[in-house]
Every structure is written in C-alpha cells, then in structure tokens.
C-alpha cells in the first residue's frame, strides 16, 4: 500500500473544497498548541469560529477587521493574476496612509464631498507611487519584484517612523503619532455608534469592479494571459510591459486605499502600527482565495472572524492572542501545499 501522486489536475468539483479542507487541516494541526496551554480545543475553536458570529456587535467587529484585508487581499490578487509578484502591499498601505494623513490634516473647513474623494485619490496615487519603482525595474530591467517590493516595506515603515518622530510628532502628548485629521476627512460610519465605516463599502466596490475587469473585459483576459504565459501573450500582440505595469500600479493603488481606510475610518491619525501587518496578511487572503476576487473576499471575512475570535478566546480561556497569528500562518502554509497538490491526484495503490 502506498500513497500515489499523479500529475493530473484535481476534478473541478474538488477545487472549491480546497480552502475548506485547508481550514480543517489547519485546525487539526493547531490543536496541539491549544492543548499545550491546557485549553479545551473544542471550546477554543468555538470561540474562534462561532462566537464572533453570535452577536450583532461582534459581527460588526468582524467586518471592521476585514475591511483592510479585503483591500490588501484584492490588491495582491490583482497583481498576482497579472504575473506581478507584489509582496509590498504593506509598504503601499503605509504610503496610502501617509498621504491620507497629509491630506486629512489640511481639510479643516472643507466639505466632506471634496475631502473624502481627495483622500481616496491621494491614497491611491501614493500606493501607486510606492510600487512604481519596483514595477519599472521589473519591466525595464527584469529585476525581480519580489525582492524590491519586499524591501520597500521596511523603507516605508522607517519613513513613517521618521515623520512621526519629526514633523508630525503630536505637539501635545509628544507621542510618535500625528495630529488628528480634520473631521470632514473622516469616513462616515455605516452603523451609528459602531466602528464600521465607509471603507468597508469601498472595499466591496473594489472587489466587484475587480471581478468584472478580470473576468468580463478584454483587458482582464489580456492581463491573465500575461500572468500565465508572457511569451504567448507577446505573440498575440498584447503589450506585455504595459499590462504588467498597469497590474502593478493598480495593485499598489488598492493597497494604498487600505491605508486611507484605516486612517480615515479607524484611527484618525497616523501611527506606525497603522497597518498591523495587513499588507502581509493580504498575501494570505489572496492565496487562500485562489487568486479570485470573490475568493479573496471570503478569505478576508474568514480571517476577520479568526482575528476577532483570537481576542475572545484569550479573554475566555486565557490563551495568548498570538494563537490567532499562528493559526493564520499555518493556514497559509497548508493552503499553499493544497494548491500544489491540486495539480495532482492522490490515490491509494496496493503493492503488487
């Protein structure tokens, strides 16, 4: 008896099951950790998965947590589909947040109808600018964007730190945080007295547009062709460099919006922990979502659940909050392994 891997794509019905299987496997693996801290795994997973969905307040909190992930997940999905391996959503998010803060600080007395679009455009442009150099280096000089976009994340974080310890340091508290942005630049709340804000709607709109562009337009098909096989795309008359550049810039812009949304919707000033790793988690979202906009949407919501759950589980059972991070990291690894296995069939065979 033995396991056999056959190079043969998994049947179509199996594909949607992959993320589900990945989740089940992940929980199976992380059970050990839960046991190590002397908690009851079933109870722990109840708090992780069910509790966040059991009350109106916590469901709203899940949506709040998901908002930046929807955006960074969408950003990474778009780039990956187009064959641009953007690992720099984190840096692009910070660039967008910085631009939003800069604009928001100037918006005193300006109507929200002007202030909000300005914030959004400014943040998108800043995200684009942050990915421009890696994108040009890839297109013109064939320099691997995985490295360049990743390195620029640290540059962005240091840049934000410099701003917060220099010109933007809070004059009153002397904390490394910027002054508060103007009230007209703050995203309106979707539900009164909750933290759910306009950014969530923005994210949903972006995902819908992205789905349409990728699957229903000529540009989307061309982009996918470039992502899947650049040689054939070039042969078919597609402007490969231009297409890659657009994928990269749009991806950077969307990641920038995540920054805008966090500044204008949640924090109202810039802090260096503004991202909280949402740029990196975007990679998990995109991968878990199978590089499909809807998939990314679901994955972002799911991770929002786990994120919220990790807090209630630590409150209820005294498990460290970091267990949530461990679960997410495990989930990424398992998903990647599953995506690889998707190209194979596994079957049991009897030894002759």
């Amino acid at each position: 008896m033995g396991l056999k891997f056959e190079r043969n794509p998994a049947p179509v019905w199996f594909r949607p099951l992959i993320p589900l299987l990945a989740i089940v496997l992940t929980f199976a693996i992380t059970t050990t950790l839960v046991l190590l801290v002397n908690a009851n795994p079933l109870q722990a997973y109840y708090y992780f998965l069910v509790e966040p969905l059991s009350s109106r307040v916590s469901v709203i909190e899940v949506l709040v947590k998901s908002t930046p992930l929807l955006l960074t997940g969408a950003a990474v999905t778009f780039a990956f589909v187009g064959g641009f391996w953007n690992i720099g959503a984190e840096g692009q998010l910070l660039a967008g947040a910085t631009a939003a803060t800069a604009i928001g600080l100037q918006m005193d007395g300006v109507s929200p109808l002007i202030a909000l679009p300005l914030m959004i455009i400014g943040g998108f442009a800043a995200g684009m600018a942050w990915v421009l150099i890696p994108a040009l280096m890839r297109v013109k000089l064939a320099i691997d964007e995985v490295v360049t976009t990743l390195l620029l994340n640290s540059v962005a974080l240091l840049g934000v730190s410099a701003l917060l310890n220099g010109p933007w340091r809070d004059p009153v508290s002397q904390w490394p945080q910027s002054p508060e942005i103007a009230a007209s630049a703050m995203f309106p709340k979707l539900i009164p007295r909750s933290r759910l804000h306009l950014g969530f709607i923005l994210a949903i709109i972006i995902i819908v547009i992205m789905w349409f562009v990728l699957s229903r337009t000529a540009f989307g098909l061309r982009m996918r062709a470039v992502g899947m096989s650049p040689h054939a795309a070039r042969f078919a008359g597609i402007k490969v460099e231009q297409t890659l550049l657009i994928s990269a810039l749009v991806s950077g812009g969307i990641a920038g919006l995540a920054g805008v949304s966090e500044v204008a919707g949640i924090h109202f000033h810039l802090i260096d922990a503004i991202s909280g790793g949402n740029g990196y988690t975007g990679i998990i979202v995109a991968t878990l979502g199978g590089l499909n906009p809807w998939g990314a949407g679901l994955a972002a919501l799911f991770i929002g659940v786990i994120d919220t759950g990790s807090q209630s589980v630590s409150r209820a059972l005294g498990v460290p909050v970091y267990l949530g991070d461990v679960i997410l990291a495990t989930l990424l690894l398992v998903t990647l392994a599953m995506l690889l296995l998707q190209r194979y069939r596994i079957r049991w065979v009897r030894q002759p």
Binding site: T217, M228, F235, G237, I238, R345, R350, P352
Partner: protein, 508 residues
C-alpha cells in the same frame, strides 16, 4: 524451447479524461528487439497510452506486464526501475547545464558528483550506442536534434531496455532522421525494444518491425510491417481510404500579382547569443504565390520567422507588407498590417491554461467587446464555428493544454486563416500532424494562395517545400543562397545550395 515473454504487454487499457475516453480497452504488445510503430490520427490516444506505460498517467482499467512480470507503474521512477525510458516531444532538459550533468541528473549515486568520471561514462555510453553528442557542451547551445540525442542518451544511461519515442522525427531534419534510424537499428540489434510514434508512413515502413494502429482511442489493428502497405495503414487509421489531396498542378495555377506583397530588403538580425543570424536578407513574395524557404536547420530560419512574426527585432533593413513599412513593428502592428503567423513553437503562441475559445479570440479581443465588456457568447460561437470548419477535436471550453498536438496546431491555423491575411508566415505547418490533417493543412495553404495571399513557407521537410512552393529560396548561414522557380528546383540543386554552394552561372 519457449519463446521469451514480450518486453511489454498492455491489456485492456482504458483511460478517461472526464467524459472523454482517450484509451478504450487497448491491447499493446511490444516484443524484445522490436521497433514497434504506434500510429493513429491526431488525438487517437497514442501519447496517452505511452504516458500510462511511463507512469505519467494512471490507467482507469487494464494491466501491464513488463518482461512477463505484472507491473504497477505509479510514476516515471517506477518505469525507470523497470528499465523503461521515454523521450517526449517536450524535452525535460535543463538548458544551462552540460550534457553530462543533464544525463546524470537524478541518477548519480552518492552525494558528490564526480564530474570527470561522469563525463567519461557519458561519452562511453554515447559511443557504445552510436549517439553522437559532446558531453561537455551546454544543452542550451544544442540544436533540437542534438537535444533529442541527449534525451535518448539519458534513457540509455539508466539502462533502459524499452525506449518510447513520441514523434521523434517531427523535430528533425532529414539527415538527423537518418542518424536516429541508424542508432535505433543498432539498439534493436542490441536487444532493445523501441516504441516509435510517427505520422510519417514512409518512416514507419523503413524502420519498424510491427505496427499498432489506434483509432478514436480504440485498437484498430496490429500487423507486421512487412505484411502491410502505407495504404492499408492509412485505412486502419481513418477507417476509410484517404483522399488524394490537390497538388499544386491540379490546383488551377494563379497569376501571381505584379507587385510583391511581402518585401524584405537587407534585413539583418542577431540570435539569442547576440551573434549575427541574418546577414542581409532580400526577398520578395508576390500575392498568390508560395515561396518556400529551404535550408538546413539553424541557418537563420527561426530568426527570420521571428522577425516577421514581430517577436524579434531586425537590426537593419526594411520589411514592407503591401507597401506598409513594418520593420521593427510589434506583433500587434504586424497583424494589423495583414500578416498571419503560424509559428514553429506552438506552445509559445497559445496560452496553455486558457480555453480554446479564449485563445482563438485573444489576438482580436477588441472585436469581442461591446460596452466595455467581453461578449463571451460571441467568443464561444466563434470557437464553435472554427472547430466545425477546421475539424478540430476539442470543445470551446477545453483548455488548450489538454489538446493533442495536432489539434493545437489546427487551432492556431484556424485563428490565422479565418482572417484572410495578405501575408502568411508559416513555419513547419505539418509537423506532428497525421496524414489527414497534413493534407488538410496543405490544401488550406493552397486555398489561401489561390485567394491571393503571399505565403512564406519555412519548412525543414524538403518534400513539403517541393510539393507546395511556386519558388524556393535557400537560406544558408543567414543569407539567401539562391532562389529557384519550382520547375528548376530539384532536390539535388537545392541540396547543393543548402550545403552552401553558390548557385553557379550555368543555372542562373
């Protein structure tokens, strides 16, 4: 005395891909010391059957025995352990490595690779089997024919006693085919068994001992080569006698247009290593004529084709299409100028992961867009039309990757011809096609010629060139060595030109 068991015996092999039955209860017996042809139309299931034997696919039903022992082949590793080797059409070599490194890759014992030893053993093996390769050469510098020899050597180095060759001659020039056959005969005399897949009945007659024919995934028959004829084989393959195809003489001759539609003037280009590949090509192709470009492979044909396809820049010179300058144009402008392109490397001209319908529309997506969104129904209908018209065995939503080689070629052909281009650049159009499809493609090319297209036919198959061309240009080391009208182009004269002899005055 008992007869030795066959080298390989496959019984009742069935393989399904979804609803498609690629192999349907196929029996196949390969004897020791036998060269066994596997014949069948495009998509008949030849490659699938052999991939099963090599462990790349797993049969849904059926048994395999190797050397009389029943065998379960789960992966190529198992196949190699059973001393089966396979050379696929897509070579699995690592280009930046040397021949030796490629041959011993994954097969060296111990952790450290003793390169000197390896070089010696590889060249010994090469000599023993009469496979001519330089152990120290880098694979990326080798021609297709040489790479194939490396693949064969790789199998032999692992002590293969059964060698599967999937359309080995499709990528070879005639001289290389002869070398391959010499090597195969030697291997047979050594007791090896060879499965030889080919669409060329002449080759099958000359080299093989036995022929097995598949038709639509089923066994159509198995006979001794000496007891059959090409006509009978063809009948087994298609289930009817083939129709003759209109040769150039029958197709009513057209008057070529007075004006050259495709003009090349002093075109130069460099190859991937930056060395001059084209050294001033000047060539006119008239509307309504097929200009054959003959030459030993590696003399600049590929580069010329790429320049005309828009995937390689020319360094100097001008190219015009119907009066429009397209020197240095990208594929999009070249297509818009009215050039249809059927390239040598199919896999670089379609997106394997995309569907047939998407690939058929990819070059002209603008035409399938209304109000900013793609009209997918129109794309599908378009694909259905071409599939019916060009008799392609595929569905619009099949991924190109899953098509058999011949059907993939038909997709590319259909995509070009439906647009009635002014100029057609076509390289090796019938490589890997079965007889029916070959006839079909050739008659389509003649049809386009009739319509008034200027066709540049680049082919390593001299018979094909002679059969189709109005004029034949010979390329040698990046230069046009001579241009002969068809009436004066006989194999001997072409052969001399291809070998580099300048056309002598008495022939001019």
């Amino acid at each position: 005395m008992t007869t030795p068991p066959p080298a390989v015996e496959m019984r009742g092999i069935t393989k399904r891909f979804g609803s498609l039955v690629a192999n349907d209860r196929v029996d196949f017996t390969l004897d020791r010391g036998q060269i066994h042809a596997l014949l069948g139309e495009n998509g008949a299931g030849k490659t699938t059957l052999m991939r099963i034997l090599y462990g790349l696919y797993h049969a849904d039903a059926g048994d395999i025995s190797v050397g009389g022992q029943s065998a379960v082949i789960r992966s190529p590793r198992d196949a190699i352990a059973l001393r089966i080797g396979m050379v696929t059409q897509h070579f699995a070599l690592v280009p930046p490595l040397t021949v030796t490194e490629n041959v011993v890759l994954g097969h060296n014992q111990g952790v450290r690779l003793k390169l000197e030893d390896a070089h010696r053993r590889v060249s010994e093996a090469a000599e023993r089997y009469g496979v001519d390769v330089q152990p120290r050469a880098l694979v990326k510098d080798l021609s297709v024919g040489e790479r194939q020899r490396v693949e064969i050597l790789k199998a032999l180095y692992r002590d293969a006693r059964v060698l599967i060759l999937d359309e080995p001659t499709a990528v070879l020039v005639p001289q290389e085919v002869e070398q391959l056959f010499d090597a195969l005969r030697r291997l047979r005399d050594d007791g090896l068994s060879v499965v030889f897949i080919s669409h060329k009945l002449r080759e099958v007659m000359s080299i093989t001992d036995r022929v097995t024919v598949l038709r639509g995934g089923q066994l159509a028959g198995s006979v001794q080569t000496s007891e059959t004829t090409p006509a009978e084989m063809a009948r087994m393959m298609v289930g009817r006698t083939t129709f003759g195809m209109p040769s150039l003489d029958e197709a009513s001759s057209t008057q070529p247009a007075a004006r050259a539609v495709l003009r090349l003037d002093g075109v130069t280009a460099v190859d991937n290593k930056g060395l001059p590949a084209l050294k001033g090509i000047t060539l006119d192709v008239y509307g309504g004529e097929i200009m054959g470009l003959a030459g030993v492979s590696g003399n600049g044909q590929s580069e010329l084709a790429q320049v005309l396809e828009g995937t390689r820049l020319c360094t100097t010179g001008t190219i015009t299409v119907a009066g429009q300058d397209v020197s240095g144009a990208d594929p999009d402008r070249i297509m818009k100028a009215g050039v249809g392109r059927i390239p040598e490397d199919r896999h670089a001209s379609v997106v394997p992961e995309m569907t047939v319908a998407q690939n058929m529309a990819l070059e002209h997506l603008g035409e399938y867009t209304s109000n900013g969104s793609l009209n997918r129904r129109q794309m599908r209908a378009h694909a259905e039309k071409l599939i019916a018209e060009y008799q392609i065995k595929a569905r619009p939503d099949d991924r190109i990757r899953t098509l058999s080689g011949g059907n993939m070629q038909k997709v590319i052909l259909a995509r070009v011809m439906e647009r009635n281009p002014k100029v057609i650049i076509v390289s090796q159009p019938t490589r890997g096609l079965d007889i029916g499809a070959t006839e079909y493609v050739r008659s389509r090319l003649l049809e386009q010629r009739q319509r008034g297209a200027a066709i540049l036919l680049i082919s390593e198959d001299l018979d094909e060139i002679l059969e189709l061309s109005d004029r034949v240009a010979v390329i040698y080391e990046g230069e046009i060595q001579g241009i002969l009208p068809r009436t004066e182009a006989d194999p001997e004269r072409l052969g001399l030109l291809m070998a580099g002899a300048k056309d002598s005055p008495q022939w001019a």
